[in-house]
Assembly symmetry: C2
Homo-oligomer: 434 residues x 2
């Protein structure tokens, strides 16, 4: 190969949901020019990754070749070769949303690790980094309006992400065709906010989660933080959280001012308060012209939500919720199949999950993400725990369809390919696990 | 502290089973001399580790101290301090055998990783490295008589341990008070031997495991390899394997020459053949004046074994076997509580296991080992998978006894201490997992 002939059909460089990632790669026997054609630059990235995977390094059999090739780096006779040419590859993803969720609240993940991980995501043709920034344990992001959220709410004042850090991640992700979708989980999973903004917390009896939906301070806070997010994260989508909100008597009903407010507003149940909060939050999001993604409880509890809300189904492969949501015409992403913290789930199990395997309009299933919840992960083991298990989810989301190992050629060869791909990741310097 | 006053009572530097590791550490309020006294140098090592753990790094509160201490490395005011002095520590291990098993056959572990891991074992006051060298998948050790075992049986001719490598490990282990006990698993788990020594394998129909107990080549082979082990490994103990031997019709009864031989020797069952093999193997071991350790099947199947054989109970906390074995006066080590490849077993579960919690002579329970079987571990994740979970086993074996979190102060504080200890390992450069 002497050169690669690259043709990009569109000069639009914007990265967005559903951006075309298709590509055509042609390698002929009698030509030393590889041809790569794609609708967008992002398709070119995917095609180049495929080309890289096709290259195999080996040594010439010098007994049959009178002139061993000297690569110039001392490895005499080492060559790269591509098997099975001519190759005519026409490829495109099955799902437009192929993500990995990282959690920087349970353990802080160093910036360099997040950047390294973007390289691995690109190798896996993933296109969404879902960044679960904050949680009960810590709030490591110093937003421009509220740096104290991090200086007081992070594990350590040095274990924070500045706006510049976040912009570095977004830029690096963009260059790899990866969108960054932030999540500041609200109203639950928020104890770390209490350290700097106790005024937005419920008093049950101490300032604690879920945050207090009845005081104006809360909405000033939410509006400001969402404005900060909007300023920094260019993506059209935003994950608004909303999972595991404590609705029992443990919190809101323990705060007399909240109980008073509920009476005044004729609310009998905490779920109404939850709905009130989500409604106001989703209005803020709508005013920013962002498309909200919610954890499935927001849908399961039947809250009124805008029709463009995307439901993130995380409670396993919950076909009941998927069917209900798609029946009501909501778009759905699936994450429940790919919980990387479930150590008993092998990549085989990940691979078997077919998100479209439900009764209903499968067009509304737009993809999904593997989730690396951070309770037991930090820089010591993040890469080896995520990869190559998440690779199985990535291939499922790229290829779609048939997981049957007797009828699908891809499924038949997945064990060998995962093995080789793991080696490829290790050779590129990323310690994917065995 | 200006100096440490070290007193060693015995000048004997030999490391052996039951070597005294007790120590006394005294730190007074009005003296800048720490006093450390032990029966042997190995007790001194344990005491120094404790002293290191007592040191906390922090910064002087300069407002109350007019003269901040300059450490000379730019960290102005940084100091090490020890809490709660005066301290009078008198410590000794509860079990003499506190091990970690590594498996270099399922994945090759680089020499440097094994050496690093010895440092971590020392931090954990472990004193036995049980080295499961070979298995069905590979044979990475080039013994002096049979280097071809590795050159043909390793994953790659470069992924082998030379005699010098092994001596490096033994020497480094000795300097940390750690004995190295090798295991060449026989007669099962031996397919990798077929690549270089098919003459010792059964033909069922291809040369494969278990090895053939009926031909003289087998005993020449075993004798030579044990002589090689004896030359290199100085420890009095040797692990002879013996687990999971295929006794069904799948192998030995499929080899007509073996069936003929059994008839000739009036053997009806393959277990008799298994016993015949173990008897000859254990005789070789006895002639070398080594004490054999066997996996529990050798005992469970009621084979005749020398009374000094140690039973390694690996099938969970199998009190039935432990009771039977100790009733017959065999010494026992327990490994079934601490399977590091069982990812659903947290360190909490490891910590709860009390090896002496059975009916019988608990003096015969001499310790145990955590086991890191290698199917899913290599240098990418070994340290973070083993530690700090194995630390829980290490403390249990050092402290012994009471695992009750309400009555045992150690059990009460274990969560905090594991957390701190994990940080200590990370700070020393070993990526223990969170």
């Amino acid at each position: 190969i002497s050169s690669i002939n690259i043709i990009v059909e569109s000069s639009d460089m914007k990265l967005y949901h559903n951006v075309p990632e298709d590509y055509k790669l042609v390698i002929l026997e009698d030509s030393d020019i590889v041809s790569l054609k794609a609708s967008t630059v992002f398709g070119i990235l995917r095609g180049l990754e495929t080309l890289g995977q096709l290259l195999e390094f080996g040594w010439m059999d010098t007994s049959s070749s009178p002139m061993p090739i000297n690569t110039g780096d001392g490895a005499s006779g080492g060559i790269f070769c591509i098997r099975d040419i001519p190759l005519f590859i026409s490829d495109a993803p099955s799902y437009p949303y192929r993500g990995l969720m990282i959690d920087t609240a349970r353990h802080y993940l160093p910036l360099n690790l997040i950047l390294d991980n973007l390289d691995v995501m690109e190798m896996n043709k993933m296109n969404v980094l879902h960044w679960h920034i904050s949680d009960s344990q810590s709030f490591p992001y110093a937003t421009s309006s509220f740096p104290e959220l991090a200086t007081k709410g992070a594990y350590h004042p040095k274990r924070i992400y500045t706006v510049k850090d976040v912009q570095t991640v977004i830029r690096a992700a963009y260059l790899r065709g990866i969108r960054v979708i932030p999540e500041i989980d609200l109203p639950g999973h928020t104890n770390a906010i209490a350290k700097s903004h106790p005024e937005v917390m419920s008093h049950c009896p101490n300032p604690s989660e879920p945050i207090n939906p009845t005081v104006p301070e809360t909405y000033n806070f939410v509006e400001t933080i969402y404005k900060d997010l909007n300023d920094v994260f260019p993506d059209d989508y935003i994950h608004v959280g909303g999972d595991e909100v404590e609705l029992s008597e443990k919190c809101w009903l323990n705060d007399t001012s909240i109980v008073e407010w509920m009476k005044l507003h004729n609310m009998n149940k905490t779920v109404e308060l939850y709905e009130y909060f989500e409604t106001r939050l989703l209005k803020i999001v709508a005013n920013m012209h962002k498309i909200p993604i919610v954890w499935q409880e927001v849908f399961n509890l039947n809250l009124t939500i805008p029709p463009n809300t995307i439901i993130d189904v995380w409670k396993g492969f919950d076909t009941y919720t998927i069917q209900n949501a798609t029946n009501k015409n909501f778009q759905v992403i699936l994450s429940g199949c790919w919980y990387l913290d479930h150590l008993d789930c092998s990549w085989q199990k990940f691979y078997e999950c077919d998100p479209r395997n439900f009764t209903g309009n499968t067009d509304l299933m737009i993809g999904g993400h593997a989730s690396m919840w951070g309770e037991h992960v930090d820089s010591s083991n993040f890469i080896s725990r995520v990869w190559p298990r998440a690779s199985a989810a990535a291939e499922r989301l790229w290829l779609g369809g048939n997981t049957n190992t007797t009828t699908s050629p891809a499924a038949k060869s997945i064990a060998d390919r995962i093995h080789q791909f793991r080696c490829r990741m290790v050779l590129q310097g990323f310690a994917a696990g065995p």
